[in-house]
């Protein structure tokens, strides 16, 4: 027999998305992953439309690019790049954790209880460090023009 969801209301609402409560730093990485994901999606949907100008002519492309140039758009593009760096590297971390890599071996639940989050912490730090390095390379590249 198929299980049917009882559909309990999500009483925490938006705070249920954003707040980490007592769940630690990784919970805030999850929040940031969602926020950057939503930002990247919004940008991507517009990006499809803007870059389709190249399908018409070189003049249409130049016109479209001149409409999204200037410091405001450049800064926005830079934020998108930073969001990509975090979302991509944190996504690799989430994929590894989902596959059971770097979460440690199961242990007996003996008091004082230990959490696997501590085992995952080095992976989270490595992911943040990698994203930071990528962001620095992109920053130098984008702002050195």
């Amino acid at each position: 027999m198929a299980l049917k969801s009882k559909g309990f209301p999500n009483r925490l609402g938006i705070w249920g998305w954003l707040g980490g409560g007592r769940w630690g730093a990784e919970r805030y990485l999850y929040t940031l992953h969602r926020l950057t994901g939503l930002g990247l999606l919004a940008y991507f949907l517009l990006h499809i439309v803007v870059t389709s100008a190249r399908a018409f002519s070189d003049a249409a492309w130049s016109r479209a690019m001149s409409q999204v140039s200037g410091p405001f758009f450049k800064f926005g593009e830079y934020l998108v790049f930073l969001a990509f760096c975090f979302h991509a590297i944190n996504g690799i971390r989430l994929g590894l954790v989902e596959l059971g890599i770097a979460v440690g071996k199961p242990i007996e639940p003996v008091y004082p209880y230990r959490t696997s989050v501590d085992v995952q912490r080095p992976l989270a730090l490595a992911a943040l460090a990698t994203a930071f390095v990528l962001a620095v390379i992109g920053t130098i590249s984008m702002w050195s023009d």
Binding site: N10, W17, I48, R54, A55, D58, I92
Partner: protein
């Protein structure tokens, strides 16, 4: 495997595909100043006569550099079938990954069943519509790039 498990597995697979293709895209667009790979921006490196590419934008004549988004580079990448195919694969993977992720976030608010079905249908329509439009643009861009003469 239940339907949602399958969709979640596809979500992860799409993420891996995006990582590769968007990684190349980011290398091309945002890291060119530090990591230069000629095949990504063919017009930026090598022996291009800059006087022959007036459509590359004002920036070219002002600063002497050809930017990754200047027409010369867009055209040089666009003529390649590999790039066109890559754009379409990236488009499909990113649309699925992004819109399925958005669907999951919205579903966590436990909307009514009818609203869930409506949201799913709307996101599916949006994704399919943008995929068809984006894929058409990639194919047409290749034709325009091939027909373009210096």
């Amino acid at each position: 495997m239940m339907r949602d498990q399958k969709l979640w597995a596809w979500h992860l697979i799409a993420g891996a595909v995006i990582l590769i293709f968007l990684g190349v895209h980011m290398l091309t667009m945002h890291m060119e100043g530090v990591i230069k790979i000629q095949s990504l921006n063919p017009a930026s490196v090598g022996h291009v006569d800059k006087a022959k590419i007036p459509q590359a934008g004002d920036r070219t004549s002002d600063e002497g550099d050809i930017h990754p988004i200047d027409w010369a580079n867009v055209r040089a990448r666009g003529v390649r079938t590999l790039y066109m195919t890559g754009y379409i694969v990236l488009l499909g993977a990113a649309l699925f990954h992004g819109l399925y992720g958005l669907r999951n976030i919205l579903f966590e608010l436990n909307p009514a069943v009818w609203l869930k079905k409506t949201l799913s249908a709307l996101l599916l329509l949006l994704g399919l519509g943008l995929f068809v439009y984006g894929a058409w643009a990639a194919v047409m861009a290749r034709a325009v790039a091939r027909a373009w003469k210096m």
